[in-house]
């Protein structure tokens, strides 16, 4: 296909321009929107007429049309490395279709035969940007047809596979939910000024021109706006506009002994104004640059077992990494090949950690700590929370959910795929599966910042240690860590990334930064041994990936449109009674033969 040769080529290409004056961004009330009308008409026709011979009719169809505008800017050393004139516009048309009934349908199943085949993605396609009634219906018609045929095949294969089995809990495949004619948002043209963003990217990246010790650096700004239209056969419908801007700064170098040193930070907002000011960002980049340079000549440590304080946003960061996806339900799919099925369950477990499903009623945090998910709060201390929405991606009204109450796990976040004990959605579908929106970690046992440090040192002394450890940034989040893993494999680097900001705190109160310290995967159990928390909660936001297994329930039909969902987490500083840390092991790559051209200027 023609498209093939372009894709091959655009592998490296980032960012794009579209000249369109975004037809879908023009004010238009959602009701008389041509696209919505086409969706409504084709859905009605499909529900009433789509049927192959005497086979099952669809019992549920959902259409989702997403208008996605994306713009990406990258810069290094004061120069842009990709150029876009205006955002890329795409329209993604998706069909979710279920045959059978709520108790047993075609989902929650993968067939060895069709796995990985084109049919698996038959319900998703790129649609026309023009608001052309007949073309939109044509696209929905063909995608629904493909999806229906695939669903029939899957359902009969699933019934056959189930025949040979007995026992097990009989959990429905899909939850019944009341229809919701939810939020209707008229999108506004909120695209930020390209010139300003480019200037920001250039200015921030230019900071590293004066740091020849830093080998690579990059500033990336990604702006996206997703306008979703959703309609299902149960009568639920919504439209929603979700802009998001992310600014990320990365830098990497090596210590004289070759040990890689890398650091990055990302900030998110709903619009450019929600980001920190350029001056504040410049200060942060300068600080990051100075710390990396300092780390090159810093010491590492061999091994440490003792109390560790996660201070400020590092606490929210580590909590989100370890708890974020565990707080969502996860159902193991069945397959016509049991070996395949087992292999996949294990793989899914490894990616994102085991769900807390069998821990409901168990203690997972100390009794003075509680956690809730709140999708309706928009701000924390004047800072934007990124998980806020009045409806989830199934069109269900979102609501606050108490997840952990005084240390005891009470509930998990669910989409419409029931699991044992959690049969209804909590309004938490984000992308292809359930995820937290805004997590709030609260504590009944708080200490001031100074008191926390004193407590940390006291506990270190008890163990006969010469110093204690403070983590101020834990490193790439769990969403990013999957990307990081892929990057490492691609660039043949080994070892897990080091903690970017960790300090030794001595009894006289002075601190020393450490490099090359690795956290050997914090066991979730160690969170039970948190002994105290701070009194000033901080916010951390990061992309989080829904469980891969969830895709099988949603029939592989959901495109994330513009990246992974962003989850916000608010938590106080956390003092762990004991954690194990060790130095990253080599062998390290050799250091450069020539100095950076920046050094010789």
């Amino acid at each position: 296909m023609a498209a093939k040769c372009r894709t091959a080529r655009s592998k490296w290409l980032v960012g794009v321009v579209a000249i369109l004056l975004a037809p879908f961004l023009q004010a238009q009330s959602p009701q008389d929107d041509v696209v919505m009308r086409a969706m409504k008409d084709e859905l009605a026709r499909s529900m009433s007429q789509l049927r192959l011979l005497q086979m099952d009719k669809p019992y549920f169809i959902a259409y989702r049309v997403q208008d996605v505008a994306v713009q990406e800017i990258t810069a290094t050393l004061g120069s842009l490395t990709s150029r876009t004139g205006s955002p890329t516009h795409n329209r993604i048309v998706e069909v979710e279709l279920r045959v059978g009934d709520y108790g047993l349908d075609n989902t929650n199943f993968f067939s060895e035969r069709s796995f990985g085949g084109a049919a698996m993605f038959g319900g998703i396609g790129e649609g026309s940007l023009d608001n052309n009634y007949s073309q939109i219906r044509r696209e929905l018609w063909l995608a629904t047809d493909r999806k229906y045929k695939q669903a029939l095949e899957d359902l009969s294969a699933k019934r056959a596979a189930l025949k040979g089995r007995s026992g097990g809990e009989n959990i429905p495949d899909f939850s019944k939910e009341p229809p919701n004619t939810g939020a209707n948002v008229i999108p506004e043209d909120v695209l930020p000024h390209l010139d300003e963003l480019e200037a920001t990217a250039r200015d921030l990246s230019a900071v590293f021109r004066s740091a020849p010790e830093i080998y690579r650096s990059e500033v990336r700004i990604r702006y996206s706006d997703v306008y979703s239209r959703y309609l299902n056969s149960e009568g639920t419908t919504f439209t929603r506009s979700q802009p998001l801007i992310m600014l990320e700064v990365r830098a990497e170098t090596q210590a004289p002994d070759g040990q890689p040193i890398a650091d990055s930070f990302a900030v998110y907002g709903r619009d450019a104004a929600a980001l920190p000011s350029t001056d504040a960002l410049l200060a942060r980049v300068r600080q990051m640059s100075a710390l990396i340079v300092k780390l090159r000549s810093s010491a590492s440590l061999d091994r440490y077992n003792g109390p560790v304080l996660f201070e400020g946003a590092a606490a929210a960061e580590i909590f989100l990494q370890q708890f974020g996806s565990r707080l969502a339900t996860s159902r193991s799919p069945i397959s016509d090949n049991p070996q395949f099925e087992m292999m996949f369950s294990q793989m899914f477990e490894r990616m994102g950690g085991a769900s807390f499903q069998d821990k409901i009623g168990a203690r997972v945090l100390p009794s003075f700590m509680s956690v809730r998910d709140n999708p309706s709060q928009t701000l924390f201390n004047g800072l934007a929370l990124l998980g806020t929405s009045s409806v989830d991606d199934d069109g269900i009204k979102t609501r606050e959910t108490v997840l952990i109450d005084h240390g005891i796990l009470k509930n998990l976040l669910a989409a419409r795929v029931p699991v044992s004990g959690i049969l209804q959605s909590t309004g938490s579908r984000r992308g292809w599966g359930p995820l937290p929106s805004n997590l709030f970690v609260t504590s009944g046992k708080t200490l001031s910042s100074d008191e926390l440090k004193q407590e940390l040192l006291r506990r270190a002394k008890e163990r006969g240690l010469d110093y204690a450890l403070i983590v101020r940034r834990a490193g790439a989040g769990s969403g990013a860590s999957i990307m990081e893993m892929a990057r490492q494999i691609a660039s043949r680097q080994s070892g897990s990334p080091s903690i970017p900001e960790i300090y030794k705190l001595y009894f006289d109160g002075h601190e020393e930064p450490l490099r090359g310290v690795r956290m050997s995967d914090i066991p979730v159990e160690s969170f039970k041994e948190i002994v105290a928390t701070g009194d000033a909660p901080a916010l951390y936001s990061d992309e989080l990936m829904p469980r891969v297994s969830s895709m099988l329930f949603m029939g592989f039909s959901f495109s994330s449109g513009s990246g992974l969902p962003v989850v916000s987490c608010v938590a106080p500083s956390l003092l762990f009674e004991e954690l194990s840390l060790a130095r990253s092991e080599g062998p390290f790559p050799p250091t450069p033969v020539s100095p950076s051209p920046l050094a010789a200027k």
Binding site: S82, R83, Y133, R137, V593
Partner: protein, 567 residues
């Protein structure tokens, strides 16, 4: 044959030592930064225990606009500007270096070979550019040193290699600079044009897919190497593809393609011409879904000029690419055939990247220098049926120790010998009518009910499959049965199969109607623009099989109505 314009040759400077060119270097700040960093790297790396003997940088600037429409509506418009670095650093020497292929099947090898490409600044800030070049040089150097050690071990452990030629050829340095090409495209006009072009397809429910895609780009390549070459080339490229698919009642999918390519935006068809072609496509698609399904058949056939061009590109062209004669995993069809007849004696084959056009048709395989800094030149591959030469990059093979300017790649891929403009000439041509008459004669002599005429082939952008060494499969889209009484009948579902050497020996005659096929060819070193020109050919025996058929039913519901309110 038209005389190629070789003005560029006058600009080409052969120099013996790098010192010579400083004064002639083009005033291009990017080239200057590349030269500065390359010299510094070579100087610093020379002090290491395993210094590189060769280093080249190629920076490719690409501005690409893409407009896609379907059924009268716009699907997307993109406009991208990118800059990509390709770096070749070799440790060892010309005879045996770090690029030497391993003789074992390792899974991991291709994965390891691909080094992460750094982000290259788009503006011409020399310092930022040099930092990117430095990072990449250091990375490639480490990789090359490691790899050379593995190569040396591999050479010791394995049996002696059949082809003992060196890994790299020494070539003279060149300095050459083209002006940066102009690039202008009226995006709104093209969006409107493609909407208009694809709209008529929407009137036919049998047509399930109908797209038009415009790719317009200008590519500027800057190449600098440690032998002293400094080259800048800049070429615009415009391509329009229309493709549509109809589904027959039995589920068979019938695609049809129409491709236009040019170095100029006005080289693409105007609205009237486009509309006429679209209408022809619709008529053909509607005829195809009603056409009878072809039966397996062995017998005489005519390939149109376009079909012959694709046929030669696929079946002959890929087998004369130099490095394939060296790779011991390759079939090496022609390796021992030099100076022997490989085609009927009335056929000659050239590869000529110096040609911009053939008569009045532009040839997309034109370039002044290849991607290893070697000037392009016309290569006579086959003279009167006898194999003379291969297409050579700087990877020598036994008996051919120098490049002939055919080292090509897509940015991001390692260079390999590739085709450019493939031209098949015949000294035994007859008129079209005469060729058809000859076909009918053969049909009668072989006592066949009919012969076949292959009018069009799905090609150009479907050369995706890796070449299967000893067989080929070319996908015809428009095929007719030709009956002894001269009647022609359209058929569908034909796949052309066979083995190359036997097919070539069965070419009986050609017509005088030479046609050009411009396309983009994908192989080991990525996608490169090429052309293939050939006359129509009569082949005494070809073999066709039934095309693999889609098992998907046609859509269950009829197409939705075009306006709201009547479901």
């Amino acid at each position: 044959m038209s005389v190629p314009t070789k003005i560029w040759l006058g600009l080409c400077l052969l120099a013996a030592s790098p010192a010579l060119f400083a004064q002639h270097a083009p005033s291009d700040s990017v080239v200057a930064a590349m030269r500065q960093e390359l010299d510094r790297s070579m100087q610093d790396l020379r002090r290491t225990p395993a210094p590189p003997y060769f280093l080249s940088y190629e920076i490719t600037d690409n501005r690409a606009i893409n407009v896609t429409a379907a059924f009268g509506t716009l699907i997307s418009t993109t406009d991208e500007t990118t800059r990509v670095l390709d770096l070749d650093l070799r440790v060892g020497d010309y005879k045996l270096d770090s690029s030497h292929p391993f003789r074992q099947d390792t899974f991991s090898e291709p994965m390891q070979e691909r080094l992460e490409s750094p982000q290259i600044p788009l503006n011409d800030d020399p310092l930022a550019l040099r930092v990117a070049l430095w990072q990449s040089t250091e990375q490639h150097y480490r990789h090359a040193v490691e790899r050379l050690q593995q190569v040396q071990a591999n050479v010791q452990v394995k049996v002696a290699q059949e082809d003992q030629s060196p890994d790299f050829s020494a070539e003279p340095a060149h300095v050459y600079s083209e002006p940066i090409a102009d690039f202008a495209l009226d995006k709104p006009a093209w969006q409107q044009k493609l909407r208009g072009a694809t709209k008529p397809f929407a009137d036919h429910k049998e047509i399930l897919e109908a797209n038009a895609q415009l790719d317009a780009e200008v590519e500027t390549r800057r190449y600098v190497n440690s032998e002293g070459s400094e080259i800048r080339m800049s070429t615009p490229f415009y391509r329009l593809i229309i493709w549509a698919t109809a589904k027959a009642d039995d589920g068979m999918e019938l695609p049809l393609y129409h491709t236009y390519m040019s170095f100029r935006p006005d080289g693409l068809p105007n609205d009237a011409a486009l509309s006429a072609d679209v209408n022809k496509m619709i008529v053909m698609l509607l005829a195809l879904i009603k056409a009878p399904v072809a039966d397996p058949y062995t017998g005489p056939a005519i390939l149109s000029g376009r079909a012959s061009g694709v046929f030669f590109h696929e079946i002959f062209g890929h087998r004369i690419e130099g490095q394939r004669q060296k790779n011991e995993d390759d079939a090496q069809t022609f390796k021992r055939k030099v100076n022997q007849p490989v085609l009927p004696n009335f056929l000659s084959v050239y590869s000529d990247p110096t040609l911009r056009q053939l008569r009045h048709t532009e040839l997309l395989g034109y370039y002044a220098f290849d991607d290893e800094g070697v000037p392009s030149r016309r290569v006579t591959v086959v003279q009167n049926g006898v194999l003379q030469n291969f297409l050579m990059s700087r990877t020598p093979i036994t008996g051919f120790d120098r490049s002939n300017g055919h080292g090509r790649h897509q940015q991001g891929y390692a260079v390999a010998a590739r085709q450019s403009n493939l031209i098949v000439e015949s000294s035994k041509s007859v008129s079209r009518d005469e060729l058809k008459r000859m076909l009918i004669e053969q049909v009668k002599a072989a006592n066949k009910p009919y012969g076949l005429f292959f009018d069009d082939i799905e090609g150009g952008f479907t050369f995706t499959e890796r070449i299967i060494p000893n067989a080929f499969n070319v996908r015809p889209t428009v095929v007719y049965r030709v009956y002894p009484d001269g009647r022609e009948e359209l058929v569908r579902g034909v796949d052309l199969i066979g083995t190359p050497l036997t097919s070539f020996s069965k070419i009986v005659a050609t017509d005088d109607h030479e046609e050009v096929f411009n396309g983009v060819c994908g192989a080991d070193s990525g996608w490169v623009p090429v052309s293939a020109s050939a006359p129509g050919m009569l082949i005494s025996q070809i073999e066709v099989q039934r095309k693999e058929k889609s098992q998907e039913r046609a859509p269950l519901l009829p197409p939705p109505p075009a306006s709201a309110g009547n479901n």
